[in-house]
């Protein structure tokens, strides 16, 4: 089974988010871009399927800046091909409608049975790449997947619903699946293997044109939330905070 894993680069929330001067976008000066966590899971799931059933795994990403290490890491991890698509404005961040159009174009000469990608990314505003890509390709899409099995040549995807309910969906291939979590946490790749991949593997580079961002709404303002009601903060060291909490719990009759 040939699997394609599109990877999207998103702001790392470990860093503080800052608003850019225009007030309409985030300030990218100190922004660290990392592969979307659920895309890491999608790659892990793809590699698990490859280990079980054979086939190939191709990783595709838009060039948002510092993406090479991630691609080499994917190859060191077991991916067979790594494709980087460059285009105007990709480093400033393009919306998912544009990204999915770019991917659709890039996939024209990459054969696949299955596309796995994270079910959503933290900076999604105009939908998610997976379902948008599926729609452009005319393929079925199921999201919030936490397990994939191959049964008699059919793909059965385990879909999560709220409340812990889960449903097994049979999906005709080719298809796109949005991964919520892989069956195992994404594996760590030893640095020396990544360095070796950097020496021996090649990243295929493509050029896309300008990105078509239509399909999303306009943004007039981006801001950090100011809570109307913020929590009443308790001060002090662990002892003092604990004392204050005990007093509060008594007050609210929660210590019976």
């Amino acid at each position: 089974m040939d699997i394609v894993v599109p990877i999207k680069f998103v702001p790392d929330l470990v860093e503080e988010m800052e608003i850019g001067e225009s007030g309409k976008a985030l300030d990218r000066t100190f922004m660290r871009l990392i592969p979307s966590e659920q895309d890491d899971h999608a790659l892990e799931q793809a590699l698990l399927l490859k280990e079980r059933h054979g086939g190939t795994v191709t990783v595709v990403t838009l060039d948002a800046g510092d993406v090479d290490e991630t691609l080499f890491t994917a190859v060191a991890n077991g991916a067979d091909r790594a494709v980087k698509v460059r285009g105007e404005g990709f480093d400033k961040g393009i919306n998912n409608h544009a990204a999915s159009a770019v991917l659709q174009e890039a996939l024209k000469d990459i054969p696949f049975d299955l596309i796995l990608t994270g079910t959503q990314a933290v900076d999604d505003l105009d939908g998610s790449v997976g379902p948008l890509l599926a729609a452009r390709l005319g393929l079925p899409y199921v999201g919030y997947i936490t397990g994939i099995a191959l049964e008699d040549g059919k793909v059965v995807a385990r879909k999560e619903y709220p409340g812990g309910m889960v449903a097994d969906m049979e999906v005709a291939l080719p298809a796109v699946l949005g991964i919520q979590a892989a069956e195992k946490p994404p594996r760590y790749v030893v640095t020396s293997l990544v360095l070796e991949a950097m020496k021996t593997a090649t990243i295929e580079e493509r050029e896309a044109g300008e990105a078509d961002c239509s399909g999303a709404a306009g943004v007039t303002r981006v801001y950090l939330p100011q809570a109307v009601e913020r929590a009443r903060m308790l001060e002090g060291d662990a002892n003092q905070v604990a004392d204050a909490l005990v007093a509060l719990l008594k007050e609210h009759r929660l210590l019976s």
Partner: protein, 405 residues
């Protein structure tokens, strides 16, 4: 040190054996193993390993290495150097055999998840805690006078103080860092820190066998050091001391490095008049593995000398002291494997150490390592001895003795 850590040993024993031979200088001493078992006996977790060091070598010789690779016992090793220290054939067990086996397991993807996270964090953020590198000097931001951060300070300093991951980000250990600032300032030392330019020292990564990552971190630190003028690097972190003194030179990175107790012991005459407030405690000093028996760093006297400068302190020795010290359990990845270790051993070496301190009537357990303050604090609580024993870094005791201002 050559980086051989790219091939998984498909021929089980032989390829691994060659890896050990090449991994460290003196690697071939592994051939001299007497199978005496001193290593397995002295290992704090040896009783819970189905393949302690002796058995690993025995398996190699018997060409029956596959079971070793199926065992996860290696992750109980906390890189305390007790085995290396006691081996009559002087085999580099900790840095050679055991690190190579950990590397082998990592290459096979067989490492506990918490460890993988710590490694991934240090690769991405330059610290094992996964915190923003931009916040690495936040612990110092409200101090007056301010702590010089080299990128802003732009002047030569006497001492480039390497702070370390836990001392920068962990709330308990940040207190130690702030105490150290007071000591440096009281002594008029011209010092500076790298702040956001500082990366994980690489000691844990090196001893876990993630050689490539160790090299990457060491070279990043070296690049930062190269930018500035200083007489020596002083560190409050024994792991940093150990790796910068013993492993960095193998990468061509060399500079004068001291543990802070060495630095202060040298300046004893300048230090002791500043310590005016009586600290009336019975203090047991815990020798950290990494400045002690590790690689024969042998820093045992200097911390005691520094402690003797503090008025009111009564220093007592614990039975397991100096090169026989009991590891706190944090090295070689142990910092992230407490759950893993507990499930298999049902003991904590840190609790053993606390019990020993209490047995000699200590009121304070003095430490000099950034892993130790949180680990021994935890052990004091988990053994129900809160209030009976205080855990203090020497820097904290000094700061207290300085008095106000």
């Amino acid at each position: 040190m050559t980086t051989v850590a790219t091939t998984v040993s498909t021929n089980g024993g032989l390829a691994f054996y060659n890896k050990v031979l090449e991994a460290v200088p003196q690697g071939e001493r592994v051939r001299l193993c007497l199978q005496c078992g001193a290593c397995s006996g002295i290992c704090p977790n040896g009783f819970a390993m189905n393949y302690p060091p002796r058995s690993i070598i025995a398996a190699l010789r018997a060409d029956d290495f596959a079971p070793v690779l199926e065992s996860d016992a290696i992750w109980l090793c906390v890189a305390c150097f007790a085995c290396s220290n006691v081996c009559p054939a002087q085999i580099p067990l900790t840095t050679g055999l055991l690190a190579a086996l950990k590397n082998e397991m990592l290459l096979r993807g067989k490492a506990p998840a918490e460890l993988q996270t710590a490694l991934a964090n240090s690769r991405r953020y330059g610290n094992t805690l996964g915190q923003s590198p931009r916040k690495r000097a936040e612990w110092a931001k409200d101090l007056t006078p301010p702590v010089p951060i080299m990128a802003e300070h732009k002047e030569p300093v006497e001492v480039l103080w390497y702070v370390g991951d836990y001392a920068s980000y962990h709330p308990r250990v940040q207190k130690v860092s702030r105490a150290m600032v007071r000591v440096f300032q009281a002594m008029g030392v011209k010092f500076g820190i790298l702040g956001p330019e500082e990366n994980s020292d690489g000691d844990a990564q090196c001893l876990i066998g993630e050689v490539g990552l160790f090299e990457m971190l060491a070279l990043k630190n070296a690049r930062a050091f190269d930018k500035y003028e200083f007489k020596e690097v002083v560190t409050t972190d024994p792991h940093a001391y150990n790796t910068m003194k013993n492993e960095y030179p193998g990468l061509g990175v060399s500079f004068p490095i001291k543990h802070y107790t060495q630095f202060l012991a040298e300046r004893f005459d300048q230090l002791w008049p500043l310590l005016r407030r009586d600290q009336k405690y019975r203090v047991a000093y815990h020798d950290p593995c990494c400045i002690g028996r590790a690689n024969h760093n042998d820093i045992y006297d200097e911390p005691r000398r520094v402690l003797s400068a503090i008025p009111g302190i009564e220093l007592v020795e614990m039975p397991h002291n100096r090169e026989n010290s009991i590891c706190c359990g944090g090295g070689g990845g142990g910092m992230w494997l407490d759950g893993f270790s507990w499930e298999r051993t049902r003991t904590r070496t840190s609790e053993w150490r606390v019990a020993e301190a209490l047995s000699v009537g200590a009121q304070v357990l003095a430490v000099a390592c950034t892993y130790e303050t949180p680990r021994f604090d935890d052990a004091v609580k988990s053994t129900g001895h809160e209030g009976d024993l205080m855990v203090r870094d020497i820097a904290e005791l000094l700061a207290e003795a300085l008095g106000s201002g």
